[in-house]
Amino acid sequence: MDRSQNHIHGQSAANFCYQFGSDNPLLGMGIQQQFAPFTSPFGASSSTNIPHMDWNPATMLDNLTFIEDKIRQVKDVIRTMVDNGGQLPCRQGDLTQQQQVVNADLTCLIVQLISTAGSLLPSLKNSSFLSQPPAGHMDTVNHVGSSSSFIPNATTISEENKEDMCSPEDYEELFKGFTDGAMEGGIEIDNVFVEEQDAKDGDEGGDASMDGENLPPGSYELLQLEKDEILAPHTHFCSICGKGFKRDANLRMHMRGHGDEYKSPAALAKPPRDASVEHELVKRYSCPFVGCKRNKLHKNFQPLKTILCVKNHYKRSHCEKSYTCSRCHTKKFSVMADLKTHEKHCGRDKWLCSCGTSFSRKDKLFAHVALFQGHTPALPADETKNSSDQISRVGSHQEPAKFPSSMGSSFMWGTSSSDDRGLDVKGLAGCSEDILSTGNFGSFNFSFGPADGFTGEPSGSSFSVLPPEHFQSAQKKGKN
């Protein structure tokens, strides 16, 4: 039976998708088996096990036969429809059912075609996860005609797909996988060498120690991003037009505009989790600013936990505060989220300092006043005004000099949350992955143009102060 064979074939493909697909989201549908013998073009170590896609005639042949079979199936179905059409005009329900089945089959075919063709085009490699087959869909295809309970099944599956596309955790997991690949390559991200044995020990030591707040040095993998990577507003770039995105989901939505091949459910689906990520070494990050406590060269170095932490830390501590509160026109922030948090409470803060800083709690104000010389608690303006109105001559209240630097960071620390780290982690990882897989530095550079304009920073000012090479060389010195 043709159908039964196809069924088995489809199932096996689906299984592979779930089992190995998580290892590498780049894998196409039904072509996994053939990847094992091929070495990765980046010479990835065997432990990471990333079989990169390449053109293989045998696989191609396999795929084409599958497509051929499929077309034949659809033909059969349509033929039966044509035959029955004149005889039983009253059975409308059957007809619509058959139409849906045909539709599903055709979609499947298109996906197959794209993925097969995609493996031939190097420019599509990075977006080849689009060709990932929805495994559920395969099932529905193979159940055609044999099961009358097809429709309810299909709906539930599509819902699952939707969920997958929406949940950010999955994106995060996915892109962890991506970054792993990129970082192990050691091309863009400076990699601190961790001895193999140590890493193994860390792994065997159990998860408890790895989850702890303070990891002993060496028990984690230390990474350091460069300044321009940290400050990049977009981390996902369209391989066709170069437009940048913060989230890969947005990129996928964008890709639909570049052609129908990106509209398939498989192309739009979120790549599945990578199971092997859990067994990876814990990662910690270093700030590229030399002299910072978060820089690995610092005596009391304290690593940052996530890439989002790196981003927020770098912006808060080493960048200009360009966002000014629209209510008080006093407080400035370098992270937009901090500004928004502040604006929620701005004006409600009761406890004021003479420097203009306000606090929601009295003890915070007093700690601030105790810390800075010359700062004094300030009374609400109306109270002092009333008292001084009685005498006409009121001298100008001399306020002590302001201390704009380092204050923001001192009381903003508490807000650095790791809740939504997934977004930026993924974003940054996607960026590096983009560079890795395509080798297209042009698109990367191109994306920075609008970035500068968007943030309103003087273009290249922060870059010119200390070029990335400086950091890199410093780090290398430190290592040696």
């Binding site: 009295k362 003890d363 009374l379 008292s387 009685q390 005498i391 001298g395």
Partner: protein, 669 residues
């Protein structure tokens, strides 16, 4: 008086002499003026009137200004340009504008008794006197954080009192702490709005503090640590701090304060002997410790005081002495010079005798109301503590007259002696003849003393300044005359209810020119004639109590108004004074405190007229019946000037019925 007349003569001569006084250097003139002022402050006025040069010199000489009313301030300040200290304690109401007009040379301003000013006035003061070093804002119950913020602009402030500024919170204190970092002496007594937050900041910023009063504040152990750590702190007052408990004190165990010399923890209810034992380890250089009404005195606590080897003063008023507690003081606190055990429970003869036998260097001893002690204790006190200069044993009623004689015989250094309500008799007073340094003698309610005993005192105690003969019913004019003649330095005398006294006593007392306090309450034989002598003789008289002297009438008041310009306080209840006397009395512009209850001759109109004339009044006691009879807006007006009314609702008592039935003017309200 002699100096005053000397000044008069001096000024006369300079008017006549061809060499004017202005040829003298200012330094010399100021030396003269210093002497004149010391002898009689009023002589300065005569000096100034002598010549233009004298006037100018006197203007330049004066450093302290104490105006009677705030509206006189501009004129006074114009006259005395080099004033550095402005004492406004007589001005009940000081408007903001008055503070804006002060000269910039001021170094000290006292606003402790004033009201009517606010943050704006203090702001003006801070602006005009940037060099102000001493500011007293006590009792500024209306002052809040805004005022404190203005105080903070006086950068050179060294002494600041914010006592009873109850509206000041941590914010105000924070401003002061940041602004006045030069503070040496700060009082935050009764500042109940202040918490540990502000105190911690204070301790951080004002490191030069030497004296800190935190009585009745909400201080807890959170800030006590940082306060104790102040390196220059010498005097710490923690009266009535309920937040200070054993836990707080024991948390200081590892801290040391080498500078702290005086610690007052009286009325700290939550402190026990355990807490005291732990804190004394942290303050090895303590000189004075006050634990009155604080904790029971146990032997172990007292033994812990051994670590404070320099302790000189120990005050244990109102404490409960456990067994052997007092004995332990004798054996542990050998360095003690001053010991107060007044109103303490558990003070027994045996323990006190043991203690004083060890404390041979004791200079001051207070055993007021230790009712259980008898002759035994007095014998051992007089035997061992022969160098006592102060002995207070009021209401030690079990001590016999024989034992009291020992005091005079053995303690010849005595300067202050309080034997009120004792069995003292003429022999005891005779024994005091050896105490030639005696300056204060309180022998009220000693019913057995007589004129003979007072004669001994008058003959042998020329330095006596203060004598209390309250209810010594058996003394007569002769005794008082002996005192008045023998004690020319007398400043204060209480003759209340010495019913035998007549005008003769007052005539002799009028020779005591330094007399400023006279209490002759309930002396029915004293009349206006005697009072007029006092008014003419004792020009410094400031406090006068003539309650229930029904023979005193308007004539006495006329004399007072004419001569007693220094009068501040008077009690007229039950006198025969009428509206006329009251009106003339109210011409004394310095008068602050009047008690006018149960005067038959006073009408509401007369009273209101007197109140309106007398601008400096701060407190007036009146019978409640007048409240309804006087127009409300008048009372409001007087109150607005800073006067407080106290309405008395006691029934009129029939007077003198047992003393002099003949002259009984039966009067009822």
């Amino acid at each position: 008086m002699a100096a005053a007349s000397a000044a008069h003569r001096h000024s006369k001569r300079c008017r006549l002499s061809p060499v004017p006084l202005d040829s003298l250097a200012d330094e010399l003139l100021f030396l003269v003026l210093d002497r004149v002022a010391a002898a009689d402050p009023r002589a300065l006025k005569s000096f100034a009137l002598a010549s233009r040069a004298c006037h100018a010199a006197e203007s330049r000489h004066r450093r302290v200004l104490r105006p009677l009313r705030a509206d006189l301030l501009p004129a006074a300040l114009a006259r005395y340009p080099s004033v550095s200290r402005l004492d406004l304690s007589l001005c009940a109401r000081v408007p903001d504008a008055a503070l804006a007009a002060v000269p910039s040379s001021l170094r000290a301003v006292d606003l402790s008794r004033s009201s009517g000013f606010g943050a704006a006035g203090i702001a003006a003061l801070a602006r005009t006197c940037p060099g102000l070093a001493d500011l007293d804002l006590s009792n500024g119950v209306h002052l809040g954080d805004a005022a404190a913020a203005e105080v903070a602009r006086m950068r050179k402030l060294q002494r600041l009192s914010l006592s009873r500024c109850k509206q000041v919170t941590d914010m105000g204190l924070g401003c002061v702490a940041v602004g006045c970092t030069d503070l040496r002496d700060l009082s935050l007594k009764w500042c109940i709005g202040i918490t540990d937050l502000g105190l911690n900041l204070l301790a951080l910023k004002c490191t030069k503090l030497t004296t800190l009063d935190l009585s009745y504040t909400m201080i807890t152990k959170e800030s006590l640590l940082s306060i104790i750590k102040l390196t220059n702190l010498q005097v710490l007052t923690l009266v009535g701090c309920i937040g200070i408990d054993d836990d707080a004190l024991s948390s200081l165990e590892k801290e040391y304060s080498k500078s702290l010399q005086v610690l007052d923890m009286s009325h700290c209810q939550n402190v026990t002997d355990v807490g005291v034992s732990s804190i004394v380890k942290s303050i090895p250089n303590l000189l004075e410790l006050n634990l009155s009404y604080c904790c029971p005195v146990t032997p172990s606590m007292v033994r812990s005081l051994q670590k404070v080897s320099k302790l000189q003063t120990l005050k244990l008023e109102g404490c409960k002495f456990m067994a052997d507690g007092l004995k332990a003081i004798g054996s542990s606190c050998v360095s003690i010079r001053e010991l107060s055990l007044s109103k303490s429970a558990g003070v027994t003869d045996t323990e006190l005798s043991f203690a004083v036998s060890k404390l041979k260097n004791l200079l001051k001893l207070d055993i007021t109301c230790c009712r259980n002690i008898t002759d035994v204790s007095v014998v051992s006190i007089t035997r061992s503590c022969t160098s006592l200069i102060s002995l207070r044993m009021e209401s030690c009623s079990h001590v016999s007259s024989g034992a009291l004689q020992l005091i005079g015989k053995h303690c010849s250094q005595l300067e202050e002696l309080d034997l009120t309500d004792s069995d003292l008799d003429g022999e005891g007073l005779k024994a005091l003849t050896g105490c030639t340094n005696l300056s204060s003698l309180k022998i009220g309610i000693c019913l057995r003393i007589s004129d003979e005993g007072l004669t001994h005192i008058g003959k042998s105690c020329p330095k006596l300044r203060d004598i209390d003969l309250y209810r010594c019913g058996s003394i007569s004019d002769d005794g008082v005359i002996q005192i008045a003649q023998g004690c020319p330095m007398l400043e204060s005398i209480n003759l209340s209810y010495c019913t035998e006294l007549t005008d003769r006593s007052l005539m002799s007392l009028s020779k005591c020119t330094k007399l400023n306090t006279l209490e002759i309450r309930g002396c029915p034989r004293i009349s206006s004639a005697g009072l007029s002598e006092i008014a003419m003789g004792c020009r410094l008289l400031s406090k006068l109590d003539i309650k229930k002297c029904c023979e005193i009438n308007d004539v006495g008041m006329l004399y007072l108004s004419q001569f007693s310009h220094a009068l501040r306080q008077i009690n007229l209840s039950y006198c025969s004074v009428t509206d006329i006397g009251l009106l003339s009395l109210s011409s004394i512009c310095g008068l602050q405190n009047m008690t006018i209850v149960h005067l038959a001759g006073i009408t509401p109109n007369g009273l209101i007229a007197a109140l309106m004339v007398c601008g400096g009044l701060t407190k007036v006691k009146l019978h409640e019946a007048f409240k309804a009879m006087m127009p409300l807006h008048m009372l409001k007006n007087v109150e607005a000037r800073g006067c407080m009314f106290q309405w008395i609702n006691k029934p009129f008592k029939v007077l003198y019925i047992f003393f002099q039935p003949a002259c009984l003017p039966l009067r009822y309200v």
